[in-house]
């Protein structure tokens, strides 16, 4: 006889326990450590010299591009996972179907490769 509980219950229990452990470590450290604040310790760290400029500077747009391209290829991967579980059932029909899908995306990939969107980052 196998026991059956909702499969998501272990995730909930594990999350609660994990939070307990990580939070407990943080709290324990807070309670157990000495408290001796001084300005040098609490200041921004910049290799020991006084900081130059604020942290409010604009950064490159390459991060945005990387993230957007990640989403699009991630979505493709998810669809491919759907196809992969049904590989045997869908047989060649499925392979051709997915080949068209991946083909279109490879066209997109070649485009971004030649456009230089994947460079210097």
């Amino acid at each position: 006889m196998t026991a059956s509980i909702n499969p998501y219950l272990p995730i909930l229990i594990a999350f609660a326990l994990g939070l307990l452990i990580a939070g407990g470590a943080t709290i324990a450290s807070f309670l157990l450590g000495p408290k001796k604040p001084n300005p040098a310790k609490l200041d921004v760290y910049e290799c020991g010299v006084t900081p130059v400029g604020t942290a409010r500077q604009r950064l490159s747009v390459k991060f945005y591009l990387t993230a957007i391209l990640f989403i699009l290829f991630d979505i493709e991967t998810i669809f491919l996972y759907l196809w992969a579980v049904l590989f045997d059932e869908l047989k060649w029909f499925g392979i051709i179907e997915v080949a068209l899908f991946v083909g279109t995306l490879i066209v997109g990939y070649i485009y971004i490769l030649r456009r230089g969107a994947l460079n210097w980052d």
Binding site: R56, R58, S60, V61, F70, I71, I75, T104
Partner: protein, 189 residues
């Protein structure tokens, strides 16, 4: 009342509350984090509704990719909250948000759903006998992931192929936007 129903209700209420919390945050990063929490709760609710693939995909794609874009953009721009002060509501915005509330209420009631979304009742909420045009209902016996896959690749074949073109358009759009002359604010590599 068993644990599943209780968890579902708790998650639902928490998701609605967190959404309200999200729009009142001072820091955009806080709002993004709260939204990630909402997405995770939604994924949990999908799981409790036996839509296991949707639950996994919600976290991997929505909370793990789309929200990453949100967070990256917010951190890229690095704007302090003072610069994000809202300049006041215009009449147009008030009308649009009112319309949004109306649509939300409609979607929440059965009448509204019937009016706005005919056909959704047949999408997998019944067995294959009553919806014979579906190769396999997503809630049929067996693994949810396989059922979703069967539904996608057999019944919604054209939609699936069109998705690839949608993604291609998005790829090209993203590159064009970020590569416009002068769009590079490269202070650091």
């Amino acid at each position: 009342m068993d644990l599943s129903l209780l968890s579902f209700i708790v998650m639902g209420v928490a998701a609605v509350l967190l959404s309200a919390v999200m729009i009142t945050r001072r820091w955009p990063v806080s709002a993004a984090m709260v939204l990630i929490g909402v997405m995770t709760l939604l994924a949990g609710m999908f799981g409790l509704l036996d839509a296991h693939f949707a639950a996994a995909a919600q976290i991997i794609v929505y909370a793990g990719a789309i929200m990453v874009v949100f967070v990256f953009v917010i951190m890229l721009l690095n704007l302090p909250p003072e610069e994000l002060r809202y300049g006041g509501v215009t009449v147009g915005e008030m009308i649009l948000s009112g319309l949004g509330v109306v649509v939300a209420l409609l979607l929440g009631t059965k009448v509204g759903r019937g009016f706005l979304t005919t056909g959704i009742e047949q999408l997998g909420l019944q067995s294959s006998e009553s919806a014979p045009h579906l190769h396999r209902s997503v809630f049929a016996e067996g693994e949810n992931v396989k059922n979703v896959a069967a539904s996608l690749f057999v019944d919604y074949l054209w939609a699936f192929e069109l998705i690839s073109f949608l993604i291609l358009a998005a790829v090209i759009g993203a590159v064009v936007i970020s590569k416009k002359k002068g769009a590079e604010h490269a202070n650091a590599a």
